[in-house]
Every structure is written in C-alpha cells, then in structure tokens.
Amino acid sequence: MLFHSWTFLLFFITVYAFFSLAKTALWKRNIILGGSFIFYGWWNPLYLLLISWVILFDYTSVLMMERTGRKKLFLSLSIIDAIAILSFFKYSGFIVNNINSIFQTIGIGYSLPLPGILFPVGISFFLFLSLGNTIDYYYGKTDREKSLIQYASFVSFFPSLLAGPIERGNHLIPQMKSWPVVKQDDIAEGVYLFIQGMFKKMALADYFALYADKIFGNPMAYTSGDLIAGALAFTWQIYFDFSGYTDMARGVARMLGIKLMENFNLPYMASSTGDFWGRWHISLSSWFRDYLYIPLGGNRGGELRETRNRFATMLLSGLWHGASWNYVLWGFMHAVIHSAGKQIGKISLTEKVPVFVRRITIFILIVFTWIFFRSENGEDAFTFIGRIFTTEMSMPQIPFYMAGLILLCYTFQWLKEYKRIDFIDKPLFRGAAVFFMLAYMLFFVTYSSSEFIYFQF
C-alpha cells in the first residue's frame, strides 16, 4: 500500500473516520495500532510475524534490563537479534554470493545455494527505530515504556513504518501517550506536506527516473554529456523520491496530530560533507552518529581514531542501504571525501573560499558519489565515471524540459537556503501551491504506482 495510491486513500479515510470518533488518547492509539498492522500486513501478512517479534524482543529486553539490572547483557542480545534478523532477511544473499566468489577464487568447485528469502519492506527502518530505543534506555536517555501496546504503536506507527523518519522513543512515545487534539493547523500542514510529497514523487522523481534509468541501464552506450546529465537526473530523482516519501509520511502523521522529525534540509546546499550528512536523511545520520560513531569514541582519542570511527560509520551506513558492494563503496567514498575535507579545512586559505563555491564543489562531489549508489555494481560505477572523462563531450539528449526543471529545482534550493522566497510559506501562497501542484499532476502526470527507492532498504 503506497501513499500515492487509491488503496491508501481509502485506508486512510477509513482509519481517520474511526480515529476522529475516538475520544481518548488511549483509543486513538489503539485505532492507529490496528491500522498500522493492517497497513503492514497488506504488503504480506507474514511480515506481521516479524514486526511482532521485533516488538516483543526489544520490549522484553528493556524490561529485563530494568528487572535484572544486567543492562549490558540484554542490550547485547537486542543488538544480536537485530543483526541476526538483518543478516537473514537482507544480507544472506550477499553473504552467500561472496562466499561463492571466494570458493571460485581459491578453486573450490562448489557453490552454496542462494537462499531466496522474502525481503520484508521497511525492515531496516523499524529495526533501527526499536534498537535505538533500547540503546537510549541503556544510556538512561529514555524511560522504559511499560505498556506493550504503547511500544507496539511506537514501532509500527504506519506513517513512518516503511521508510522513516527513524524516530526516537523520547520524541514519539510522549506524543502518542497524550495524543494531541488535532487542530486546523495540523490538518492544513498535513495536507500541504502530503500533496507536496506526492508532487515531488510523481511529478519530479518519477520523471527524472525516466532519463536516469535509461543512462544507468546502459552507460556504455552514452558519452560524457549524457552520463553527466544522467548522474544529475539521478541526483534529483533520489532526493525527490525520498524527501517526497518523507513529506507524505510527515503529512499523514501531522493529520493525526503527531509531529515527526524533519529528515531533509536542502541537502544539496551543503558546504561540506559533514554539513551534507546534517541535511540528508537526518534521522539515519543522527542514528549512526548517536549509536555508532559516538560510542566508538567519535572525534575523541586522536585523529587516527576519529578517522577509523568515521570510516566504520560510513561503511556501515553504506551497507545499511543495501546488500551490495557498490553501497559499501558509496559509504567509503563519503568517508574519504569527509576525511579529505577535514584535512583541507586545516589549511587557513580554505576559509577564504566563498561559501557558494564550497556549496557547488560539494554538490559536484555528491553527484559523483550517487553514481556508486545507483550503479548495479562497483565495476559499472567505475566504468561510468571513466567514460565521463574519456569519451567525447557531446550535447546530452536529456529532454529540454527536464533540464529546465533540474535547473529550476537547483535555483529553488539556493533561493530557499538564502531565505529569498520565505513568502511561499504564507497561507495564500500555500493555497496557490496546492492548486498548482494538484493541477500539474492532474494534467501532466500519468498515474503510476511506482515504488519508492528507499523501500528496498
């Protein structure tokens, strides 16, 4: 059940009708919990077994931490459980493939059979959400949630279940416990966010995908101009695909009176890679920062340890995205660029480089890293980049209209970053924007229920 589908619209109207009838926070929560299980089970009822297991295991782990005082043991069990689930459902094919490659290299004529396991959508998101809460309890940052129903509602909350934002228990659970009364402003903001997200996905991301898919599908057939344009198209596709999903998720939650955290803040306006990670998929970046980078020592203990911690975090972040070496390479590239940026930053001259030059430089570097992310494998990514520099620079065959849209999107981000168009948040402009986005989709966009890129993670 995708957000931009008729099925979701019917589902949401039904859930919302029951939700509106509920008088107490308890009933509101129970209705949303029921809705969340229907929402997730709609993909495949078997998924419900998995999410129920995650809820029960982490709930019990925290309970046992409190009752026995053996916090480290139960935290370890919770981490092992999460890693085991991810390894089984997400990485088993990757692991087997790599073992078979090693067998082949050393001359063992035997291949392990590929597991062919059903990949449950959203698994990386709700596992991280639940594990994050367990770690927060371990560090004393949050109280134990005593109600299993409440904990289940937190983990399975349907707006953010499939692709985040990866919420924190101490932000979402208190809202759910005293479930706020839905105000007019919540509905206005929720509807606006939902329509904006739908526009980003259907009118922008899915359009850019037409060109990006064509170029990345066969990079050998294209020369420099098209390859650069293809990389640019994917750069905007993934941003609008994922931020569009997040907007819809936040919009749906807001209509229910719940405020989910921001996940994007003009990431292509970043002036350093560190800045980029503070603007892109903020909930995941902060998760890795708080639960991996800092516990590993963060930037304490010298430059070497800091670099080690950064590489570990970025490589794992890459692997989180997908069971493939190109994602690991993508994480590695970010770690390299980030480390290089740190070293360059020590040269006093760099401070004199204007911010806009730094923004453009980082944007170009980010575009290059996306090539690793989008390519089928590392070899394809290197071929892609190699051909950018070795083939003739010809005029790209990107549609004129698409090139114009990309330019418009980039300009819009600059204007937004420098607060030159703040008037668009005024009620009158919001109304006009809703009209424009809906009308544009009705007239120019052919309905298709294509999935979101981040659903595969």
Partner: protein, 346 residues
C-alpha cells in the same frame, strides 16, 4: 484573514469544480466529424470520452447505431467499406452508424454501454455478435489469468469475478474511480487525440530536442488497414468452442443486449460470419450447433437475430473478419432479410 486550512480547502474546491466542469464545456469533442460513415479512429480505441460524446450525439439522432467489435468497426478495411457503410449504400438514406470499437470484446462492451453509452434509449440498436470470443477459453476470459486483455478498465472490477482477469486491489479501485470521474476520461481524450497518445513526460523523452509547443500540436499515427491472409494460406484448425451455457463472453453479450432492451431500445443482433474454411469438420459442426443455440436464446429474449451468411474464404481477411467485398455481401444479404427489413422499417 483566512487561515492556511481555508486557503487549501478553497484551492481544492476550485480545482474540483474545474475538473467537474471542463469535460462538459471544453470544445475538444470532434462532433463535426460524426457524420457519414465516421468511425472512432483506430488510435482512439481507448478514448472513452470520445466514444461517450459520439454516443451522445447519435442518441439524439434518428440513425441506427451498430455497436460491436473490430468486425463491425472494419479492421481490414477503410471506413467506406465497413458493414454499416455498405448498409448505408444499399439503403435509400444513410441510416446506419458505425459505433464499433476495435479490440473490444463482449465483457468490455458491457461496461462501455453501461458507463459511456447510457444515453442510448428508446432507439433501434444493432449489435454485432462475434463468435471469435467463444473460440477458446483464452478468448472467452474463462481460462488462465491473462495480462493482455483489451479494455481492462471497462471490465467489472468489484461486482463480478472473471477467471482470466485478476487485477490487484489497487488496479480495481483505480479502474473504478477512473471510469466514475469524467475528468479522467477527458484527460485521456486530450492525450490520445491531441498529444500523440503519450503522456507529456514520455513525449519529452521521445523528442528531447523538440520545443514543448510541438507537443500540443502533434498528431497520432494514421490507421492503415492491415493485409488479410491470402485465401490459399488459410488453414483448417481445431477450435475449442465454448458453448453458450458455459461461455462468459456470451453471458456478457446477452446481458448487454437485455440492458439495451431495458432502456427502451429495440435490439437486433447480427451474428457476424465466421470463416468456416479455417476450421475442421468437427469444429464446423459445433459452430453450427452454437449458432442454432444463439438464435434460440436471442429469440427467447425478444432480440431479433440476424443469422450469418456462409461466405467463401476469399471474402475473409482472417478467421472472423470479412474483407471489403465480404462486408458488401453481408450487407446485401441483410437487406434481403425480411426480419431485418421489418426491424429497420417500423
């Protein structure tokens, strides 16, 4: 000062109003060409808005609509050599209107009449019945799941099960909503009739260098009637006929005819000829037996049956489509048929 919610609500309401009014008032309707031996262009086969407008215009005239599939539409011939065109030529005045739609089958025809031709009331209506749709379980939609069914949006989505059609819940809901809101049919009409049948985005992908203005002026491909099979190449085949008691398509056909009757129409069913030279002796025997059953069922339901002429294979373009000469022969035969003359003459 209005708040955010009021502005958004007003925007949505204004847009809803515009989408409701546009299909009614917008002049992209091609009414001027609904004359003579007009037929819905091949590339407009899924333009239900155009069909609905066409049907609406014909409903207000005294001419007799001839509904049906590609056999009535005339897949192997031009618009001046179809069955309605030949009937017009033989009749004292142009009385017959080609309301066939290429590729439509009885189950979809049922939806087409119910949703987009509900204005056909208190008229004489002729329906073409093509036995092709009963020539296998695949054609009958009673076999295995088939993803290549034409005009899926016209099939029953929630009310009835069709064994060959197993859409997802989303597809069912989407089809039901799309056909209930005229604006969506109008958008398809614009795309098909003005914009080469493509969405704007796909058009820009196919024409990256062209200016956007050209998108609004491009035309769809003209239809060229395909070559039929040469008579010497026609081979006998075993046909797995689905009998009338088991055929899903026949059930839909009868439902359509009865529904037309309920709307006060006087209905005749022309069972279009099947190429008996392209079937084995056993299949031929069964074919005649099905024909007899059909005639009986039609009469039972108060529908005038027009039984097909047996034609030589040179008058066919394939197993079920006559060629231009074939249509001429059928029209001549019909114009000698006492029941048919009575039907059109009242």
């Amino acid at each position: 000062m209005l708040n955010k919610l009021k502005y958004i609500t007003i925007s949505i309401l204004v847009l809803a109003g515009i989408t409701a009014v546009i299909p009614v008032i917008f002049p992209f309707t091609d009414t001027a060409s609904f004359t003579g031996n007009y037929r819905i262009p091949y590339s407009m086969g899924e333009n239900y808005y155009l069909y609905s407008r066409y049907s609406g215009v014909i409903a207000d005239e005294s001419r007799i609509p001839v509904i049906g599939d590609s056999v009535i539409w005339g897949h192997y011939t031009d618009s001046e050599n179809t069955l309605p065109a030949h009937l017009n030529r033989l009749n004292a005045k142009p009385l017959f209107v080609n309301m066939g739609l290429d590729g439509i089958h009885p189950a979809a025809m049922n939806g087409l009449i119910e949703i987009y031709s509900s204005g056909l009331k208190n008229k004489k209506v002729i329906a073409g019945v093509n036995l092709l749709w009963m020539s296998s379980a695949r054609h009958d939609l009673s076999g295995q799941v088939n993803s290549e069914i034409n005009h899926k949006i016209l099939l029953p989505q929630l009310s009835q099960e069709i064994p060959s059609y197993k859409p997802s819940f989303e597809e069912k809901i989407s089809a039901s909503i799309t056909r209930s809101i005229p604006f969506f049919a109008w958008i398809d009409h614009l795309r098909l009739s003005k914009f080469s049948g493509k969405s704007f985005y796909l058009w820009t992908m196919d024409n990256p260098d062209k200016s956007i203005i050209e998108y609004f002026s491009s035309k769809g491909d003209e239809f060229k009637a395909p070559e039929g099979i040469q008579p010497e190449k026609m081979q006998e085949q075993e046909i797995e006929w689905i009998t009338t008691d088991k055929s899903l398509q026949w059930k839909f056909m009868i439902d359509t005819l009865i529904s037309l009757k309920k709307n006060g129409n006087k209905v005749a069913a022309v069972i279009t000829p099947f190429n008996t030279y392209m079937m084995t002796a056993g299949s031929r025997k069964k074919y005649f037996s099905i024909l007899a059953e059909m005639e009986w069922i039609l009469r039972e339901n108060g529908i005038t049956p027009i039984i097909p002429l047996i034609m030589e294979k040179k008058y066919f373009a394939d197993s079920s489509h006559p060629n231009a000469e074939g249509y001429r022969l059928i029209a001549e035969d019909m114009m000698k048929n006492r029941e048919f003359l009575e039907f059109i003459g009242d």
